[in-house]
């Protein structure tokens, strides 16, 4: 009788080296540029993304399905976020925000849709956005780009962001540290939100998947243990339901990340107009 594999919901997040690459030290940091399962997933995601837009951006006045999908994705960033929140001054930032949105979206969706599991001694599915290193990079890159853009556009006046108006000098000075904390916690919340959402859903799905196998194998031993087929089937139903939920989460988290980035960018672009 087959033995149930150990339940290891964290194994899916392990990084494996696929193709050894150069490694070097820079400023005391060791860079291992090997192609890992994580890097391969990123490259696959980038290829999927670029192929999708290369094939669908046909420039027809009457779009076909693919072009309509590409335009809908673009309009999520342009017509739903940037134009209503920032206005016409937000147009130059659309390429960055759209890249952010589509990269997070494709990496999130790959984690849900390309769950081939374990085949030929290798785990094929990998959710890049469940790596804190990646979500933190995205959050830090986005947050500090916006922060420094504020200084480039407005100079030292931009520090006025931390001094709420209409509170007097003492009140504003007292509020400044609180404002600063709430401002600089943004990259952490951005990174943790995406990371946590991707991590949690995948762990739960993996656990239910393990239950299906473990309880199913137990049921095969016969006798009273056959009843274990019921929780096994229930766990399978849970996986089906969670897959749907994870699809929603994958799209929603990409949207939320870009929506927050747009709101933060608005403070910089329209600084002094809406405060």
């Amino acid at each position: 009788m087959a033995k149930a594999p150990p339940i290891e919901p964290m194994e899916q997040f392990l990084i494996h080296k696929w193709i050894p690459g150069p490694s070097f030290d820079l400023g005391g940091v060791h860079f291992d540029m090997s192609i890992t399962n994580s890097v391969a997933s990123m490259i696959a995601g980038a290829i999927i993304l670029m192929a999708f837009f290369a094939l669908t951006a046909r420039g027809q006045i009457v779009p076909n399905r693919g072009q309509a999908l590409a335009e809908s994705l673009y309009n999520i960033v342009d017509r739903v976020l940037v134009t209503p929140i920032i206005g016409p001054h937000g147009r130059p930032y659309i390429p960055y925000l759209f890249t952010l949105f589509s990269v997070i979206l494709v990496l999130n969706l790959m984690g849900v849709l390309l769950s081939f599991g374990h085949l030929f001694g290798q785990t094929w599915s990998f959710t890049v956005t469940s790596q804190l290193a990646i979500t933190a990079t995205l959050a830090v890159l986005t947050f500090f780009s916006i922060f420094f853009l504020g200084f480039i556009k407005h100079g030292p006046k931009f520090l006025g962001l931390f001094f709420p108006s209409g509170m007097g000098v003492i009140g504003a000075t007292l509020m400044a540290p609180i404002e600063m904390i709430s401002y600089f916690v943004r990259p952490i919340t951005l990174a943790m939100r995406l990371f946590g959402n991707m991590l949690g859903g995948h762990v739960v799905m993996n656990l239910f998947g393990s239950f299906v196998v473990a309880l199913g194998l137990m049921a095969l031993t016969g006798g009273i243990a056959s009843l274990a087929i019921v929780p096994s089937a229930l766990s399978f139903g849970m996986i089906v339901a969670l897959s749907g939920l994870e699809l929603v989460v994958a799209v929603l988290q990409a949207f939320v990340f870009v929506a927050l980035a747009t709101v933060y960018l608005n403070e910089v672009v329209n600084f002094g107009h809406g405060h």
Binding site: E11, F13, H30, V39, A54, G59, E71, T99
Partner: protein, 174 residues
Amino acid sequence: MAAETQAGTAAEGASGGLPQFDFHWWPGQIAWFLIIFFGVMAFMRFFAVPKVGGTIEAREGKIAGDIADARRMKDEADAQAQAAAVEAAKARAGAQKVAAEARAKAQAEIAARLAQEEAKLAATGAEAEARIAKAREAAMANVAGIAADTAQAIVTKLTGKTASAAELSAAAKG
């Protein structure tokens, strides 16, 4: 495979918890991610965004232009219809005037012809009456002659004498 196992043990040894906190892989992953991210961004900046966004704008411009064209054409058609209506009204008025004139002319002609005919009839009537009167007078004159002749004949028959013309005419008038 060896590298894989080594990575796996390294991950478990690093934190004992989440593999994501195995910082050994962070720099390489971040460097690769940034390269790929900015590659995709260049693609978006120079191809996808201008193409997709440009198409959406072109479509909106086309729709707005078409609607403006349609509105302009409708206005033109309305103006033309109005001009046509004005022209038709003018033509109708003209036609009515011409008809009225023709009617008046015809009636005048009829009246003139009627008067002419009546005058001609009256003249013919008067002439006929004159002729009748003359004929009657002539007839009456003949009657006196006939009476005298008759009296002559009677006198001659009765008396055997012929009466004078003066006597005869006095007797005839008698």
